[in-house]
Subunit: 327 residues, 4 copies
């Protein structure tokens, strides 16, 4: 069995991991160089997801970035468009009532696409953290959906050699996000109807929407829209960005079974937030878990599973899964 | 101001309302005639939603039903296809591994459409309660989505003078339903692409999926898919089918504001489950709440709201809503 | 290593498992004899929890019951007082506004205690399913707490050779139960202050209250109140009564680690609800999971865990747990 | 009717309100003087809750603080002990594995008590944000409960002229807090058994634990432990610290009814987090809502409510509440 999965890391893993109580963060702030070096030291990781714009001066000079990646033996997997860390986005990026903000949001994504292509990742990720609402009656939903669809279409039409991954999330930082579920996202992607628009399933976001990972993956695949993955875990209550497999062992294993079955060839990118943990260790343990579980997933007897499913023998399935997994 | 909303009742409101502990139900079992008489006694209701197949002998003789409705001054608003109350559906209707069950499920819906047209409701509702899964690894999601889409398409193609409303629900009786959110349902409806396939937003189901009613309504409307409504309430945790407005006052008011704004002309059907309450009173109080809140919704100053929204003045919106609503 | 855990079964596992949609249940109704025979056929189970009053004629004749248990090689572990399956309890048992209902509820529990002692279980379980509320403003909470404390005290004072286990649950069948969490229950037990009043931790109920099993067990143990256990699983969203370990593998393992550490000697009773599964198989698989995980729990190196905890090395703990558990 | 409620403000309302995405905060950082001036400008507020230690130099000089309060016409209502904003508390304050941290946590609270008495508030609030755990197997629960009880006892014994309010919260910043529910907190307070140890019900925290405010208030009152209130709102899913009454209108009204009935004489302190709102307006609107709803609560006919409750007429109660509240 050849192990062919590619594991990558979100740069944010090595950030201070602030929250609203410890606003200075739980870890010290590092330079971009140091963060990338840390990423390179994570066993099993070969890719990196970077936010655009990056810290200066890298943001203004892709060559710097290219060298940094190369020197550290890492490949750029995706450019994450930063539509969320600045206060200016607080009332939304693509949905803002302020037309100039919407315009800026689109322009930023386009520049990110150019960079992604230049750096051979050919993929951006869009997560619209502030495009939502907090209170009843706060926003004009119709206008928001129109703006979201128009904005993403305009971005995607910029160039067809770069994939646009849409990352949904039910909530946070808004009480309600507009694009909250896999269904919402497929509605948008299908409505736009461009080949380069697809879905990034952040596993923790799927959990908080009470989705099952395998199911969401299969649904996206049905429309050729399973583009990208963010791995992490939580208790289905909030996007805690925990170490992979630390809570949802069975659902994580099932997801890997489905990815294998669906022939997913994209990156397995970690998007954990190790507030109180050693970031390198937390990432490495996440990859070890994924590898271990993928090996189990690949060893499952599909014929046996099919037969058990056809006879609705769920107890047989659970027993088989336990015997294949637990020591 | 002319009051033009049409209120209808699910027949189940007058059922014994059993649960898994009080399996005999909290109320005595009534004949179909008595149930319809009770429905007719609810102030403000002019329509009735009936399950197909009905109790015998009505199920075999639409004329009986027509007379019952007429005698009680009620109009049939929708035929609810019963894909869930028999043990035979327990592993799914449209998604069952058993092809004969799937065939039966489609046939049942087609017969229901014929009846709905004959009785001038021209609308059926499909809620696929058992089409889902309980455990990780239990089902083949890809097959399930294919079967769901194919099944609904086959039903809808039966005749184009009858609307097919799809009612989503996140869970119950399965731990996970397949068609769980407004997004899922629009993906299916849009993929099928038939004019007579749309969405029934059960407000309680929307709440448990952490949707905002107004938002889900606006999104359905964007695709001309807002066909029907089931009104009830809960605490966003489970489909308790409570009296309308008893928990989510502001979200219910906002929903009515959006329905008014979107020009919704369909039925406002109650789908409450008054386990421990007097059913007639619970339904009447729900309609009184809806009417009261709709009057407030209609009196809102759209210009003022727009202006507050454009300046992101959510506090101003909350104050205005409170002043317009609270004594 | 001697395996000393005692596994028992709730009789309800072999009931039709009705819900509000399939009111006739997913399985056929069996006689008491057949149910007990089925229980006896579950590999690994040596105990049975029975509801009082039982089906007639057993309810009126403990000798019949004793013989049934003996003939099937099962030991009675607990008498569950049935304060919930009759419609008469619908507005509460110990908290009912109707004094005669409250009196009846207390008397029923006392008779159950006598029977539990006669049949050498010396333990009853009280779950007050209807003692709660659905709507804001519905009940007088102060009166409800007083009645709950007074009622349980009166029951417990009936005889001190029988333990009274209090089983909390956040909700269902009421939208809110009065005694919803481990904390609520300890407040009551400690206030009553009798040695024979303690807690039954239903693991699924703990999950829906967002408790961690190990923590709730340790807290009960702190007050010598960890009397009894009901095992099952769910997704923290609702009391689905699923097969043990099928969702919360790590939390179940952690619970067994704590039980071992705390020296718990009571019964491990299954309280699953196998709606769509073969009941005997579902119970057997639950016990197999518990045994497998208990063996792992007992093999953990306490010294190593302590050392990792003292250095706040949670990643190290997760790695160790994974290596000890996953193949 | 004399309006006697005292409204106060948490200083944090006027903080930048950072979150993990907008780490610099949604508002500009103000000096302590400016924050207090803002607080003073909130119509209806007469009290202020201050964190200890305060910003320098005020932290070292109570006289500065006293003058600031006096100059702005505000009364100190409580000293909030800051056991959470520094990175040093990240593995817990009273429960830390590091004994010196535990000692520092106790000492800090004692100094806060001295200050509270000096400034005539005679009350501190303790919220143990980091005293919890994120992952299964992470901590030694038994040790944690012992340390929590011992630590709070030691603090409370410091002086009996200062009340110690315990503020529970189910989670955040930890995935699980140790002291998560009203029940947990009463267990601790009752076990310590000192008159000056009681409960602060943060209404949003109660909501996320699926508590009903009125019920939690009545339960605390039963043990003379209802010391203090933090008002805010959310959707029961997370501690969003929203404007009071903006989501849970009926539960907020019910809470005020119970406070009135229980004779609560303490402060009504706002603990909202107006990320995207004008802080002064958000606070003022919260107080306006509370006043409006308290007036309705006081006008309710207790005799009528009792009579409806005695006949289990919940529909009658809902109708009455709606008629008394909605225009």
């Amino acid at each position: 069995m050849v192990e062919s999965e590619k594991y990558s890391l979100s740069l944010g893993i090595f950030a201070p991991c602030a929250d609203r109580f410890v606003t200075g963060g739980y870890h010290e702030e590092l330079t971009l160089e140091k963060m990338i070096q840390k990423a390179a030291s994570v066993e099993g990781a070969s890719g990196l997801e970077l936010d655009y714009p990056f810290m200066r001066p890298a943001a203004d000079n892709p060559a710097i970035l290219e060298k940094l990646l190369k020197d550290n033996g890492l490949q750029l997997c995706t450019i994450e468009i930063d539509h969320y860390s600045g206060n200016k986005w607080k009332y939304g990026a693509l949905t803002s009532e302020d037309k100039s903000i919407r315009k800026e949001a689109v322009a930023l994504a386009k520049r990110g696409m150019d960079l992604a292509v230049e750096l051979k990742a050919n993929q951006i990720n869009i997560w619209l953290g502030h495009d939502g609402y907090d209170y009843p009656m706060e926003v004009d939903y119709s206008a928001y959906w129109n703006r979201t669809i128009d904005g993403i279409r305009e971005i995607a039409e910029h160039r067809d050699d770069c994939r646009v991954c849409l990352e949904y999330k039910l909530k946070e930082p808004r009480v309600h996000s507009l694009m909250g579920t896999v269904g919402d996202t497929l509605v948008i992607a299908n409505t736009i109807g461009l080949k380069n628009v697809g879905v990034n399933i952040d596993t923790g976001h799927a959990f908080i929407a009470f989705e099952n990972l395998g199911n969401s993956m299969a649904l996206c695949h049905h429309f050729d829209k399973l583009f990208y993955l963010h791995w992490n875990d939580n208790c289905r209550d909030w996007d805690h960005d925990m170490i992979v497999g630390s809570i949802h062992l069975w659902e994580t294993l099932e997801a890997l079974y489905w990815l294998n079955r669906l022939g997913y060839k994209g990156w397995h990118s970690l998007d954990i937030y190790p507030y109180r943990q050693n970031a390198v260790e937390a990432a490495a343990e996440s990859i070890r878990s994924l590898k271990k579980l993928m090996a189990i997933a690949k060893s499952l007897d599909e014929k046996k599973l099919n037969s058990l499913r056809q006879s609705n023998d769920v107890t047989g399935i659970l027993r088989y899964m336990r015997e294949m997994t637990i020591k």
